[in-house]
């Protein structure tokens, strides 16, 4: 069944079509906002408990709460022993629609995996944050961060992320582990670092 939604057609009356009264009505609305906010500002300044005058956030001090499912800049996850999870399989590099991931593989010497990333670089200025690299990764080695991430910089070089930067502050993970918060519920994780030390 196709439901047709009726679009409300705005018909201007002759009075409105003269333009002039509507201009003054607009002036009344903006003036109302002006004096309301002005009054609230003064009220706040003298210490009265009035409504918060404005809707904007004072950005660096106040931050707008972002959705828990929001995903930002990439990070490389770690094995329990602290080495990067990445096995340099090039899946993310292949899947990347912007071709902004550059991996240089090296032979792993510990015998458990074949390769490891000698260099893992992401050109954030080309990245479109589509998350396909995260989807493509068979090792769950690359993820996109949640929470506030400052993506600002003063030069192009600052947006060219290298392996060590992507690994910085990264968590130790297993395949099944979820870290962080989803839909407001905090998911706690097993402290793998402590477990690794016991072995």
């Amino acid at each position: 069944m196709i439901t047709v939604r009726q679009v409300r057609e705005v018909k201007l009356s002759a009075w409105q079509n003269t333009y002039y009264p509507e201009l003054w009505r607009g002036m009344f609305i903006t003036s109302k906002h002006f004096f309301q906010n002005f009054g609230r500002f003064i009220g706040r300044a003298v210490g009265l408990k009035v409504k918060r005058p404005l809707v904007t956030f004072q950005y660096p001090e106040e931050r707008r709460p972002i959705a828990p499912r929001w995903r930002g800049r990439h990070r490389l996850m770690l094995r329990p022993d602290g080495a990067p999870r990445c096995v340099a399989c090039m899946m993310c590099e292949t899947a990347c629609p912007d071709k902004c991931i550059y991996i240089t593989a090296g032979e792993a010497l510990d015998g458990r995996i074949e390769k490891y990333p000698v260099a893992f670089e992401i050109d954030l200025l080309r990245c479109c944050f589509c998350g396909l690299c995260v989807e493509a990764c068979p090792e769950d080695a690359i993820r996109m961060d949640s929470g506030y991430i400052d993506l600002g910089g003063y030069s192009r070089a600052e947006f060219y992320l290298d392996r060590d930067y992507l690994l910085k502050d990264s968590a130790l993970t297993t395949h099944s582990q979820f870290r962080g918060e989803l839909d407001g519920v905090v998911v706690t994780r097993v402290d793998l670092l402590a477990q690794a030390k016991h072995h």
């Binding site: 201009l23 002036m27 609305i29 906002h33 002006f34 906010n37 005058p53």
Partner: protein, 368 residues
């Protein structure tokens, strides 16, 4: 002689300082007022040692930035004209304020001085003349920039000025007829009469249609929204496209100064100048200075108190009118260029002519 010179220089300095300060503060007011209208906070980031002064420091930071910014002259542009254009845009605006009386005549050193820099009989013509010279700034800037976008902006500016200058002139004929003078000082004095003893004969009361025509025409002269076709930022067409740094700043300082001056002209012609309703000085009421209300109440005031009250009233009216211009600028959508021309030639012009005819007939009928 020396006293005369001193007083003239003092008056010029007083008016210039006030216009410049007014223009500077208006840059701040514009940001803050538009912010309040749209429920924002507005400029408040710049600070000196952590003192933000409600965003006033931002204006200082702007000035510093504009002064130290690269001063770019387009290659193969007319260097001399490019240099002169901002001066043409800013200079005449300050001259306009010379004929506006900002206070009543004062007795000092045994002589009477008018609180008005230039007291000439054709004051209104003087205002119109210098108001239209200011557009040369925009035109020359467009021409000297060696850029088709700037040239189009300059052409738009000149076409708009011609259209609205006519309305400006025609709308002022009504008050000139009604008050029977072209001298702003005399015009202001004519507005201290009272119809039936209690309605002050302000230009707004005697010539409401003229005011409703004058306000938009004057705002078109300032080249500000909703009449900002010459700048047209959203179309990248603007006479100031090729200007940077303080030269660009001078265009906009001139624009803000024009707001102050226009508020002055409107105060003098339509809002009773420095007069407060029912406040008279000693000359007008036989030595009894103070409030004389129509129901017979009399509040005596000193001669100097009256002078100061009147100057404060002038300032207050100026402030309210500047607020009104800002509010209009941040409320109304821009015109399209053909709409702009239509409003001027097909709508405002006939109304202005009818207003002149009706005013003339009423004056004829009253004088019979």
């Amino acid at each position: 002689m020396l006293v005369d010179l001193g007083i003239i220089i003092g008056k010029i300095a007083f008016v210039l300082v006030n216009i410049l300060n007014g223009a500077g503060i208006l840059t701040w007011v514009e940001r803050k007022q538009s912010a309040l209208i749209s429920d924002r906070i507005g400029a408040n980031r710049a600070s000196i040692l952590g003192i933000r002064l409600l965003g006033l420091v931002n204006s200082l930071a702007d000035a510093v930035k504009l002064i130290f910014k690269e001063d770019f002259v387009p290659p193969r542009g007319l260097r001399v004209v490019h240099f002169l254009a901002p001066i043409f845009a800013m200079g005449p605006v300050f001259l306009t304020m010379a004929v506006i009386p900002f206070g009543p005549p004062v007795e000092m050193f045994g002589r009477e001085f008018k609180l008005q820099i230039l007291d000439i009989d054709i004051g209104i013509l003087y205002i119109l003349a210098f108001g239209s010279i200011a557009v040369y700034g925009a035109m020359l800037a467009g021409w000297a920039s060696n850029s088709k976008y700037a040239l189009l902006g300059g052409m738009r500016a000149s076409a708009q000025m011609i259209s609205y200058e006519i309305i400006l002139g025609l709308s002022l004929i009504g008050p000139i007829l009604a008050f029977g003078t072209m001298e702003p000082g005399a015009m202001v004095n004519a507005q201290n009469q009272y119809l039936w003893g209690w309605i002050p004969t302000w230009g707004l009361v005697v010539q409401p249609v003229a005011f409703l025509l004058f306000l938009p025409a004057a705002m078109a002269e300032t080249k500000r929204a909703p009449f900002d076709m010459p700048e047209g930022e959203s179309e990248i067409i603007g006479f100031a496209t090729e200007y940077s740094g303080m030269r660009w700043g001078m265009f906009f300082l001139g624009e803000f100064a024009e707001i102050v001056v226009l508020a002055g002209v409107m105060t003098a012609v339509f809002f009773g100048g420095y007069h407060v309703p029912f406040l008279f000085d000693a000359v007008e009421k036989a030595g009894q200075a103070g409030f004389h209300f129509p129901w017979g109440m009399y509040i005596p005031l000193g001669e100097w108190t009256v002078v100061i009250l009147r100057m404060l009233a002038f300032g207050a009216k100026l402030a309210i009118l500047m607020w009104l211009q800002m509010q209009i600028r941040w409320t109304f959508p821009r015109f399209r260029y053909d709409q702009l021309m239509r409003v001027s030639w097909k709508e405002m012009m006939p109304i202005a002519l009818v207003n002149i005819a009706v005013t003339g007939l009423v004056i004829l009928w009253l004088n019979k």
